[in-house]
Structures are given as structure tokens and as C-alpha cells.
Symmetry: D2
Subunit: 135 residues, 4 copies
Amino acid sequence: MKKPPAKRSGARRQPPTTLAEFVAAVGRFRDDRDWAQFHKPKDLAAAIAIEAAELQERFLWKTDAEVDRDLADAARKAGVAEEIADVVMFAMLLSDRLGIDLAEAIAAKLAANAKKYPVKLARGSARKYTELGGG
Amino acid sequence: MKKPPAKRSGARRQPPTTLAEFVAAVGRFRDDRDWAQFHKPKDLAAAIAIEAAELQERFLWKTDAEVDRDLADAARKAGVAEEIADVVMFAMLLSDRLGIDLAEAIAAKLAANAKKYPVKLARGSARKYTELGGG
Amino acid sequence: MKKPPAKRSGARRQPPTTLAEFVAAVGRFRDDRDWAQFHKPKDLAAAIAIEAAELQERFLWKTDAEVDRDLADAARKAGVAEEIADVVMFAMLLSDRLGIDLAEAIAAKLAANAKKYPVKLARGSARKYTELGGG
Amino acid sequence: MKKPPAKRSGARRQPPTTLAEFVAAVGRFRDDRDWAQFHKPKDLAAAIAIEAAELQERFLWKTDAEVDRDLADAARKAGVAEEIADVVMFAMLLSDRLGIDLAEAIAAKLAANAKKYPVKLARGSARKYTELGGG
């Protein structure tokens, strides 16, 4: 009986859906290229900041109205989508590198924020939780 | 026949699993507080950059070895997890604000990167794709 | 008697030396191009962050030893010098826009830091002043 | 004859005026605390980015009009001035660490920008030099 071919990283697979599957897909991309050796936490954090800056650059010197107008253009919107994806992918790589479950971390942060910003006090206010004065 | 209660934002629901469900959960958190009014694209992009900087600050002045040692401490690791979650949550809010499907954007960027960084040329190299010289 | 020609922005002048003269030179560059209209404080702050990220990108994925080796190369060092200059020039433009005397601001911050980080307590320590515990 | 006292770092001196004197003053502050050991280029670049983010945070979620109103308040303006000073001081420390003459770097960048953005083409336009199309 013929042995089934080993699963290869490049093999066709279901596209990712869950957050964990996305983290795994990004990790496979890294491992296929043997890039984990460059992915020190400090560098991954810097990479996130760099991508965030590239995102900001898309909006620089523009009024909010000009930004909205720009984003009606499909090519420009796709460019912004790429920068957002870059930010999230490096965040996924950092989570993976540190053994942090990103889905759990987001769920925990949402729960913590819900306490820091109770709907009653925070509704319609841009103040930081330290200034909400819920006493 | 009794009408079923309207679905409320605060109602118990299944915890999010897919990337899209996380985006939706973060969007509900925003809407419960009526915060969409503050979420201009430029501000959300700035918020991502600010959270990325808070993440970097956790590692500042430390050697890679010191960073690893720090992260063996559960409380410090949880602090880093929070900053990563903040980055991703603001990226989700920006995607949502712009009508960008984040899962699609990441899948598209992974595919584009696979072309820019073919395994054969990129394996084990930290060079930027513009310097890979694949001819 | 012939009127002396009006001083023009492009006219030969002494190169700047004092910090205030540099701020003035950068401001003239802006005014010659009628760019003050784009220089809202939020955009200038974003521009500083973007230039800071371009600076970081020069060092990304490199060990400290590789960074030092790179900087022995004159062209690479000049590239880094440009990014640092960009950061400082946008900081000067923001100061100018806000009517902040940058020389005074730096002198004041140095004095404040001298109190926060007394030589006796801070010597040889990378801890933040909040953790110096000089109590 | 009595020997004059050795010049000490803490000794009274003229306040800095030239850009070079400011760089020297910031360097003395560092050396008095024996901090050069922590000042690797990557960390100094990250520190600049972190301070730039703290500056951005002062303006986050605010409209341009709200920012202007805020800055009419002396305490808030002083807070912004501190963040700008922090950015510039770390840029000075990085220049000093790399043996870059900051005054020269700024003068060179101004000259380069004057070529990239000729007054005739750039006047009143926020476009990047790559899009100025001066043929």
C-alpha cells in the first residue's frame, strides 16, 4: 500500500477562518522561509510600529474629508487594507513567538475594557478611563 | 405567543472564534459606547501607532536575553499580551470603519508576499524583496 | 538713492548655528512653499512618528553588531543621518506652529529630568524614574 | 598659587544656545548617569518613536479645532512642549552615539529637500516629490 504523501506546507489546505488558523497560516509562511531566526520580540514590535507608520502615511496631510474621498477609490482602499494586514500579521507573529494566544488576549482585553469603560459612564465620551471619574 | 426578546448588544453570546466574529465583537463594544463618532480613520491609524509604541516600550533598553527572561514572568507576559491585543483591536476597528474585510485582506497579503518572497530565494534571508534579486 | 533690495527668503545668508536659527531656517523652507496650510499639529505629530519609523526600519532585523558594522559604511550612515534630520525638522516645525520655544523646552526638560533622575540614584540604572524608589 | 577647580559636569556653565551645545548638554546628562551603556542605536531609535507616539496621544480623538483650543491652555501646551523636547533629545543622543553632526545633517537635508521640492513646483502642494512631475 502506498504511503500517503506527507503534508507539506505548500499543500492545498482550507483557507483560514478562525483567528487561530490565521496565526498558524502566518507562522507557516515564516517557517517555510526559515525566518524565525530574525523574529526577536524587539524586532517584531518595531515591525508593527513601522507598518503602523506606513498606514498613517496614507492619510498624512489630508483632511478627514479628503481621506474619505480617497478611500472611495478601490486601489487606494486596497493599499490601506494591505497596511492594516501587515500590522495584524506582525502582531500575530509576535504572539506566536511569545506563546501568547491572541484570541484569548483579545477576549481578555475586551473584558478588561468593559470594566474600565462601563457603558453608563463612557457612552459618547472620548475621555480616557482615568478621567471618567466614575468614583 | 410571546415575542422573543430583542437581541441586545449586552446579551450573552457565544465567544468569538473566527476573525470576523472578533471584528464584530470589537465593533459592538464600540457601538455600545457610541464611540464611532470619534473613530476617524486618521485617529484609528494614530491609535494603532500609539499602541505599537506602548508595546515597544515594554522592551526598551533591554537586551534580547533580558526580554526573554522578562517574558518568563507571567505578569509581564500578560502586560505584553494586552498591548498586542490593543494593536489588533484598533486594526479591527479601522478595518470595520473602512468596510475592509480583514480576513480577506490578510489572505490577500499572504498571497502577495508569497510571490514577493518565493521560498527558494527568501529562505533564510532577511533582505527586503527589492533586494532579493531573483531576476 | 537706490533702495536696497528687499531681503528675500532665497537670499544668501549665514548658515544657521543656534537652535533658534535652525527652527527659523526650517520655517522659511515651509513658507517659501506655502506649506503652513497643511501643517496641522496632528499631521506634524504624525509626520514625526512616520520619520521615526523610517529611522527604525534602517535597523530592523539586525543585531546590534550588524547595526554597528552597517554604520561604518558612509552611505548607510548618511541615510541614517537623513532620517534623524527629518525627525528633528518636523519637531522644529511643530514647535514653530505651536509657538513653543524649542530651546527653552529642551532646557526645561533637561532640568526636570535632572530632578527625576538624580545622579546618585540613576547612575548606571535603566529603570524608569517611577521605579527608582529614591523615596 | 591655587589651582583652579577642575571643570565638573555639574558645574555652572553658560546655557546652551547653538544646536551643537544642546547636543553636548544632553550628552553630559547621559554621561553623568553612565547611561551610554544602554544607548544602543536600535533602542535610541525606538525611544524616539515612543516619544513621538506620546506626542500623538496628546491629540488623539480630537478635531483640529479641539487641538487648537487645548493648546490655548498653558499647562497642556507645556505638556506638548515636553513631548517635543523628548523627541529631539533622543534624536540628539542618537546623533551623538553615531558620530553624526546633527547641525550638518539638518543643513544637508534642507539643501536636498530644496532640490526635491523646488519652490516653483511644490508651492501650495502637499504631494510627495515623487508625484510632483517636474519632468
